[in-house]
């Protein structure tokens, strides 16, 4: 967000979005601090979102320098930390992957071993077509969402641990 242009006396320039016919109300020079002039009721100025604190920038505070250095210089402690994170992330990914693979991978075998299962019908539509043509996609999406959440939590925990 760029700064609102101000005149030399500290008064805000009229908002350019109000059009060129807009006449700014007369401003009597007031000693600092400059007071925001209430604008005409007929033409309220464009609404502006006021952000008191950017959550991203506050989260982005660099972690303590020492912890970063430890990680970077590959002290045994730093190495242990990152090994632990990798193990956590791998466990999360493998868990979800194996789950999805089991659910989907068991289907061909089930159809092969048990032909009656393949012939089942749900309101006229073969169950097999529903199981293969429709259901895998929400399942995959859910697994993706879950992983996104878990992996970000692992990372957050790691950073919290370093910063504390």
């Amino acid at each position: 967000m760029t700064d609102t242009p101000r005149r030399a006396d500290g008064v805000r320039e009229p908002d350019p979005t109000l059009g060129k016919n807009y006449q700014p109300a007369a401003v009597e020079p007031v000693p600092a601090p400059p007071v925001e002039q209430p604008s005409e009721p007929a033409k309220p100025p464009k609404r502006q979102r006021v952000v008191l604190a950017d959550p991203r920038s506050s989260r982005r505070t660099t972690p303590t320098l020492r912890a970063r250095l430890e990680l970077e210089q590959q002290t045994s402690w730093g190495e242990l930390l990152i090994r632990d994170l990798v193990k956590h992330q791998l466990r999360t990914a493998l868990g979800l992957g194996v789950l999805v693979l089991l659910v989907l991978g068991v289907l061909p075998l089930a159809f092969y071993v048990w032909p009656g299962f393949a012939d089942l019908r749900v309101v006229g539509v073969p169950l097999a077509w529903l199981l293969l043509g429709l259901l895998p996609f929400p399942l995959l999406l859910l697994a993706g969402l879950a992983h996104n959440r878990l992996a970000e939590r692992n990372e957050r925990d790691f950073v919290d641990m370093i910063e504390s």
Binding site: I82, V86, P108, P126, P136, F137, L141, I162
Partner: protein
């Protein structure tokens, strides 16, 4: 083949819009950074649309419906695998790969294992896989154009090629991102709307299609007297006593023939056959004959079961090794954004893949003659005019065709960008003129192959490139990201063994196809054996060569896995092109992550 003005205008619209969007955004693409990575500030939602747009190729748009028309329920594994590949990508490699700062797969190999020889080997496989993937796209374009215009198929191949090369040369990655995001939505529209309309037509009819109900045990039949023109040589088995009127090429007067049950017929290209109404449709190759068999998954016995598992292996693990997929991920700002983008991609792909299935099932009832001509990939294109006569059918057909063209254009643009990126940064200095020259050069080989090779089923040849990617790059990627003890000799032998096995299978399969189809089933779906072999070789050789372990493995692992906010990520391009300040300027709030 009558000239369809609607279809022509559909294609023209897509071509003009693509060119316009590409041109409009390429005005802003001036730096190498723009060309290669779109300045790495693409928002995750648009990036997801672009990734999906690039990924949904001719195989997805036309091929899946064709496979379902032919193989029925077993063909449903193709869309599942194409989507699940992204889940595997997300679970195991998306964020670490993005953080590695590698722009291409060879880049990653060099960064992780520090070997230039390995990098060269990776470049070879990237170019090979990319070429293999480009050929069916171009051939699909040729096929699609022949269904609306009376032109030889090379016209479509050359037209798409020229359009893509012009666009890529003009704008690189920056132009491609906008174009591909647009093309995803176009493709979704072009397949969803016809699917809804045709479904409504089907349900309003209240009776099964003319070729017979899908639940009936009989094969589909010709509903009325039908004349089928054979355009490529076909051989098929006759299942019932059939009386037909045949005109062989070169003959002027057709004559009657009676085909007895169980005999094998071979019809050369140019033959035209007239079937009386009610005749069961003979099927070419290994297509399912009876509808009951078609409807039930796993009806082909043990071989079908193993083939399905092989397909699962290839597609689940192959996606992460495709050359054009990784490059797109590089346009994300960081690892977390890469992960979020993939979730969006899973949603977008899942949405799209609901529709080819519906169209494939409908085409079994309305255009069964494709089973005889072998052009099952044209099912989606032929279906609208077969179901809805008159102008309405032509308009729907034009929408589908426009979507198909978007599919050819987006996938081939993406492939060309990534191949040109790999070649230009590997073999020359990676400046903008090098990129343009490389784009022209790497396009020539697929163009030549597409013109001279016999067109095959789109999904199958794309399946082969997935198998190749799964057997070469996925072991290196997975083990490289998660296993410290990987060494460059291990990675190299694994890639060569996996790739070599797939190539051997490919050669045997092609030879077998030309000499009577004696090749066993796993030659056209080899991933079930080649992927474990590649993994095993990689691990064993790595354990045997502990000296090849890079000295900086801990530092690399830290960079791959440390959360983004700690700031360990280092981009190759920043180091290389020195644009840190510009990136900081652009990254501050104007672009959401």
């Amino acid at each position: 083949m009558q000239l369809n003005p609607w279809a022509l205008s559909g294609i023209a619209t897509v071509a003009v819009l693509t060119f316009y969007l590409g041109h409009r955004s390429s005005r802003f693409a001036n730096t190498t950074h723009d060309f290669l990575v779109a300045r790495r500030t693409v928002r995750s939602r648009r990036n997801a649309a672009a990734i999906s747009g690039e990924y949904l190729s001719a195989a997805s748009f036309l091929g899946i419906a064709g496979i379902i028309l032919k193989d029925g329920a077993d063909g449903l594994w193709f869309p599942i695998g194409f989507t699940a590949g992204y889940l595997a990508l997300m679970l195991f490699v998306a964020a670490p790969l993005r953080r590695s700062g590698a722009y291409t797969l060879p880049d990653f190999l060099e960064a992780r294992l520090g070997s230039v020889v390995l990098r060269r080997c990776g470049t070879f496989f990237v170019v090979f896989i990319g070429t293999l993937y480009l050929v069916p796209q171009l051939q699909g374009a040729g096929l699609a154009l022949t269904t609306v215009l009376d032109v030889p198929s090379w016209v479509g191949v050359v037209a798409v090629f020229v359009l893509v090369v012009a666009n890529v040369m003009a704008g690189g990655m920056r132009a491609i991102t906008v174009v591909q995001a647009f093309q995803y939505w176009l493709k979704l529209f072009a397949i969803a709307v016809p699917a809804f309309v045709l479904c409504a037509v089907f349900l309003a009819g209240g009776k099964p299609g003319p070729a017979g109900s899908l639940g009936s045990p009989a094969p589909p039949v010709f509903a009325s007297e039908t004349t089928v023109d054979i355009r490529t040589d076909v051989a098929f088995e006759v299942h019932t006593l059939t009386q037909v009127v045949v005109r062989h090429p070169g003959e002027t007067v057709p004559h009657e023939e009676v085909w007895v049950q169980g005999s094998t017929r071979e019809l050369p290209s140019g033959t035209s056959v007239r079937f009386p109404s009610g005749t069961p449709v003979p099927t070419v190759g290994e297509a399912k004959v009876d509808n009951t068999e078609w409807l039930r998954p796993g009806s082909g016995g043990l071989e079908d079961l193993l083939r399905t598992y092989s397909l699962i292996f290839a597609t689940f693990l192959g996606t992460m090794g495709l050359p054009h997929v990784l490059v797109r991920f590089y346009t994300n700002p960081d690892g977390r954004a890469a992960r979020r983008t993939t979730v969006h991609v899973l949603l977008l792909l899942g949405l799209f893949y609901l529709f080819p299935t519906i169209l494939g099932a409908l085409s079994r009832m309305y255009v069964p003659e494709l089973l005889l001509t072998g052009q099952t990939d044209a099912a989606v294109l032929r279906l609208p005019s077969a179901m809805v006569p008159g102008v309405a059918g032509q308009v729907i057909g034009a929408v589908v065709l426009a979507g198909a063209f978007a599919a050819f254009l987006s996938t081939s643009s993406g492939l060309l960008v990534s191949l040109a990126g790999v070649v230009s940064t590997d073999l020359s200095k990676g400046r903008v003129p090098d990129f343009r020259i490389a784009a022209g050069l790497v396009g020539v080989a697929p163009l030549a192959l597409a013109l001279f090779l016999r067109p095959n089923d789109l999904s199958l040849s794309v399946g082969m490139s997935f198998a190749l990617a799964a057997s070469t790059f996925s072991p290196v990627l997975l083990l490289g990201v998660w296993w410290r003890r990987l060494t460059w000799p291990g990675a190299m032998t694994g890639m060569i063994v996996g790739g070599g096995l797939v190539l051997a299978a490919l050669v045997i399969d092609v030879v077998g196809r030309f000499t009577g189809g004696w090749a066993p089933w796993f030659t056209d779906q080899p991933a079930l054996f080649t992927v474990p072999a590649a993994f095993l070789v990689t691990i064993l050789v790595s354990l045997a060569t502990p000296n090849g372990r890079p000295a900086d493995v801990n530092a690399v692992m830290l960079r791959l896995h440390a959360p983004d906010r700690l700031g360990f990520m280092r981009d190759r391009a920043v180091a290389r092109f020195g644009q840190v300040e510009e990136r900081a300027r652009l990254g501050r709030g104007r672009h959401r992550k």
